[in-house]
């Protein structure tokens, strides 16, 4: 499994999750978990996703998501899970 964390931060609006999930589905990225919270008036969403079935490389998906984020007024980042797991887990 190639686990990654996708975060979406921005002003809340209709269809954000739909647009991100559509892109992921088209590229065979499996979403394992979604959670969201509102902090400081901003919409924060985190997805745990698995890239192992996707034919696209990590870097390409990451670039596509950045672009998608810009088009819907959000900041979308994709990072490998290890940076969070290592920092917060023994």
């Amino acid at each position: 499994m190639k686990k990654t964390i996708i975060t979406v931060v921005g002003k809340d609006s209709v269809g954000i999750i739909a647009k991100v999930c559509t892109y992921l589905a088209e590229n065979k990225v499996n979403v394992l978990d979604i959670s969201q919270t509102i902090t400081g008036g901003f919409f924060n969403m985190m997805m745990i996703a698995d890239l192992s079935e996707s034919r696209k490389e990590f870097m390409d998906i990451s670039d596509d998501l950045t672009e998608l984020g810009e088009s819907i007024g959000c900041v979308i980042k994709m990072q490998r899970e290890e940076i969070f797991a290592k920092m917060h887990r023994l």
Binding site: I5, T7, D33, S35, Q36, T37, T39, N44, M46, I48, F58, M59, S62, K77, M78, Q79, R80, E81, E82, I83, F84, A85, K86, M87, H88, R89
Partner: protein, 454 residues
Amino acid sequence: MVNIHEVLETNEMIEKENLDVRTITLGISLLDCADNNLDRLNEKIYEKITTKAAKLVETGKDIEKEFGIPIVNKRISVTPVSLVGASACKTSDDFVTIAKTLDEAAKKVGVNFIGGYSALVSKGMTKADENLIRSIPKALSETEMVCSSVNLGSTKTGLDMDAIRLMGEVVHETAEFTKDRDSIGCAKLVVFCNAPDDNPFMAGAFHGVTEADAIINVGVSGPGVVKRALEKIHGEDFEVLCETIKKTAFKITRVGQLVAKEASERLGIPFGIIDLSLAPTPAVGDSIADIFEEMGLERAGAPGTTAALALLNDQVKKGGVMASSYVGGLSGAFIPVSEDQGMIRAVNDGALTLEKLEAMTCVCSVGLDMVAVPGDTKPSTIAGIIADEMAIGMVNQKTTAVRIIPVIGKSVGDTVEFGGLLGYAPVMNVNKFGCEGFINRKGRIPAPIHSFKN
């Protein structure tokens, strides 16, 4: 599984609190390049560096993107050049050709500094060591990326006062050679007592002779993250203060360990150490002095600063040690003046003097760092400042260093602009009383009694 709060906390550290990996430094041994023909030696050095480090920068950038953590610098350290060039270099100018080769190799692979134009003379100098040391002003003025360091003493050997006297002159001459650029050559020159073999930070990085053929060392940072964590526990007691620093240092270091392991795997080069450092930058919010202010000092340099720094340095090590499998280098809190907004403010406000800085170096990770002094400071006075700092390292069994910049044409009250990560610095006052009689004595200061542990 990680949760959203952990993810947001990490990303906040990166985006708002300047968390980054300060440097991935590739140490490369040049011992197998040694040759008695200077041209051949230079060819072999260029070949080895450009081969070993061919993918360093690209790999660093890939890791940066995949993990979403900035890796500010990608650098190279090499075997002290006085050893590598000993049989080929008959003059100081011969050594300068090696500096130029290092510079070209660094430019070719895209790193921003290359360290190791160095000599280890803690007990005495060979002819090659002396030639290299005398070549430093020219080497640093005719190259861009090359950093130079000289180890002048250790707890085990005592202090080489002949080399210290010579370095007083070399620092001054380096300032003269680069006076058209605010004596910036001195920002790339550092002297040490007890220099570590595996330091990834410039200007003092070199690849020690105790090291393997190539090794990855990583320096972490994050003063902004510590400051922010302390804001959240404002006014709490020392136990809470210390625990908070320790936990924060652990988190910062875990990121460094992850990056180091990843870089090592991708480059096929063994992982050496993590340098657990709090290294400030001139960016707002990336300051060690700001941490002191958050702890309750009006300015860095106020009474209590040495205690605050001692506490900070120790907790950073305690938190970091458990986060990494191998720790080394300089590890601790750096207190450079020009690279830290809060330190600059403290000097400008009259809170921080050279003497207080010297006291602080007894408990910080390194020493007098990026300190600008008047250009007319005598070479013997510079040697005296170096000797004092080296003595602190020797007696306290710690690494100490001096990176001092006598800025030609400037005096107390002026400001010097070095640019980039080197920042800017107010010119500090130096004690006007001389020390020639002491510095001009020949020979060595013996090792202290507590060094004889056999």
